[in-house]
């Protein structure tokens, strides 16, 4: 899986982004610190971290809900953070859509499914006439595995999995280029999760979409993502291609997340100990850390001392992988 990133087209570029919130009048809380990554057209890029890590904050910054306090965000090469023209703002709304975690909370419970799905079409006049609009809604419903007769129903008449399908249909009907999926399966039942993941993969292939997939669970991400960024307390600590991250994880926090994934095997799982990662903040004494490339396309947040340890670890892992082949 060696893809040459230089030849691929960047759709979303996050550059040295800080996002901070005010606490009272004087204090500020930095939720995201100096985040940088590119998302390429056609890939699924996952942002993985625990609650409070800033993953959702960063996702929301990409659709201009949270303003950046430093750095910039580019969409198709144009800056979309900070002050932009109204025309461009509409361009962002149209082309970047969001799928939320809780489909029950994100749908208007007093509107029919038809209205929920058509709302974006109304706002942007994306239909010729009524007939065209209805045809588009029917198509969107069909794409996500629902039936045209579901149109007249209300959100509460659906199961959780069906509601999430409506949430997806509502995003898809805008024919966006980029979809930000914020924990789209966390609120769903185990047997429904697989359906929604398969559906998202299918739609991505059919419509040549790009996903920013926000999650806390590495096991799900391994199945769906092409590249993964691990974020801890507002700081991105490791970015790599999916297979590479699982084969050669180097940052201790990534390893701690890996060790916490429960494996469905009683003999193994009872022996597996999870590793607790405790370091909360950067040690002010240590030399400054930055993102460094440790393998092709694999970046880790480190300073010189860290790199020595990480590279040693990498050698060991490379040996294991060679033995395992």
């Amino acid at each position: 899986m060696s893809t040459n990133n230089n030849e691929r087209e960047v759709i979303l570029s996050i550059r040295h982004v800080d996002i901070s919130f005010d606490i009272g009048k004087k204090k500020k809380f930095k939720a995201v610190k100096d985040a940088s990554f590119d998302i390429y057209r056609g890939e699924t890029f996952a942002l993985v971290g625990e609650s409070g890590s800033g993953k959702t904050t960063l996702g929301r910054a990409a659709i201009r809900i949270n303003p950046c306090s430093a750095g910039e965000i580019l969409f198709n090469g144009e800056r979309i953070s900070g002050k932009i023209s109204r025309k461009q703002d509409r361009n962002v709304i149209r082309n970047i859509q969001m799928i939320f975690q809780d489909p029950a909370a994100s749908l208007n419970e007093r509107a029919t499914i038809e209205y929920c799905i058509s709302e974006g079409l109304y706002n942007f006049h994306l239909y010729k006439d009524e007939e065209d609009r209805i045809a588009k809604v029917d198509k969107a419903l069909e794409d996500v595995g629902l039936l045209p007769e579901h149109k007249s129903r209300y959100p509460h008449e659906f199961s959780g999995g069906q509601r999430q399908r409506v949430g997806i249909a509502r995003a898809m009907i805008m024919e966006p280029q980029l979809i930000i999926a914020d924990e789209p399966i966390s609120a769903l039942d185990v047997s429904i999760r697989a359906q929604i993941l398969n559906l998202m993969n299918k739609l991505k292939k059919e419509k040549n979409l790009t996903y920013l997939f926000i999650a806390h669970d590495l096991s799900v991400v391994r199945f769906i993502a092409d590249r993964i960024a691990v974020i801890h307390l507002g700081k991105i600590v490791e970015i790599a291609e999916s297979e590479d991250l699982f084969r050669y994880p180097v940052h201790p926090y990534t390893i701690s997340l890996l060790s916490a994934v429960p494996m469905p095997d009683p003999i193994i799982e009872k022996q597996r100990d999870s590793i607790v990662y405790t370091k909360e903040e950067d040690d002010p004494e240590a030399s400054p850390r930055e993102m460094r490339e440790i393998r092709p396309g694999h970046f880790v947040y480190a300073n010189d001392e860290d790199m020595v340890a990480f590279e040693e670890r990498l050698k060991k892992l490379e040996l294991y992988n060679a033995e395992n082949q």
Binding site: E50, S191, L197, V220, V261, I267, Y320, N321
Partner: protein, 358 residues
Amino acid sequence: MAEKNIILSAKDIEVKFRVRKNYLTAIRNVSLDLYEGETFAIVGESGSGKSVFTKTFTGMLESNGRVTNGSIMFHDVDLVQLKSDKDWEGIRGAKISTVFQDPMTSLNPIKTIGSQIVEVIEKHQKISKQEAKEQAISMMARVGIPNAADRFDEYPFQYSGGMRQRIVIAIALSCHPEILICDEPTTALDVTIQAQIIKLIKDLQKELGFTTIYITHDLGVVAKVADRVGVMYGGQIIEYGTVEEIFYDPKHPYTWALLSSLPQLGVKGEDLYYINGTPPSLFNRIIGDSFAPRNPHALKIDFAKEPPFFRVSDTHYAKTWLLDPRAPSLEKPEVIQDLHEKIEKMTGKGGAFYVDEQ
């Protein structure tokens, strides 16, 4: 397995809820023997009845629900016969206590952490205020709260989610119960915190020797905590056995499906295994096997007659017609064949989930 004492025995439990003018049958003839000192995990999707079933052990069904049949024997007392709060005194919270999913809603936000633990201790034990406070602080230290004495007077909002769940566990264990019911205790928590809480419960169980019922929808968690497992679907336990039997030799198609749809077993670029359709409505009378409409391997008889429990081993039973001698023989899905070898490869050196000693 060696001879074990049965600490709680539920027989043919049926639970009905009155919803507007209809009756919903949430639990349909479920029996369970719980052995002293074990961890029994109940796994199932939302609506399968796993919480409702265990709520009957502490008389905490919602007011529109009633146990309409069966008995639950606990130390020569039939818990089904207990009606008023007075009857339950000395059992609920004292001998059988519960840890719920969301630690924020199970703690009172406007009372200090310390007072909430002391309240429970004073209610169930006749001791002085000072002694109760000492007990509370030692319990807080035991569940891993650093500087317990200093944090005694703090409020829940000053604690993180994982710390709050530790407090809920401290409260539940403060009267040294014989049975601890953990109802999705880690679902609202982060994965790394989840691992810590699971370890805490296991360590305390070893130390204090209580019996645990662990309710979850996550089979990975089941593998970590359980000695025995019961799989629930549509208000029934459809398969139970030792944890090894359920993972390495599952017999019910629903257990197959649950295991197969785990993303840990997914292969990139291929579809994940999934279960079609949705669980059955419990308002209607269910005829035959409740999983039949979603089961690709369903037999004709599955739609007509409810299967009995077939014996697989002394400890392993499954409620599926597939085990009838007349049924066609069917292999479990490919994804979960040789499960142990597969996971061993994944967690071994060079595997995707390999974690070395740090």
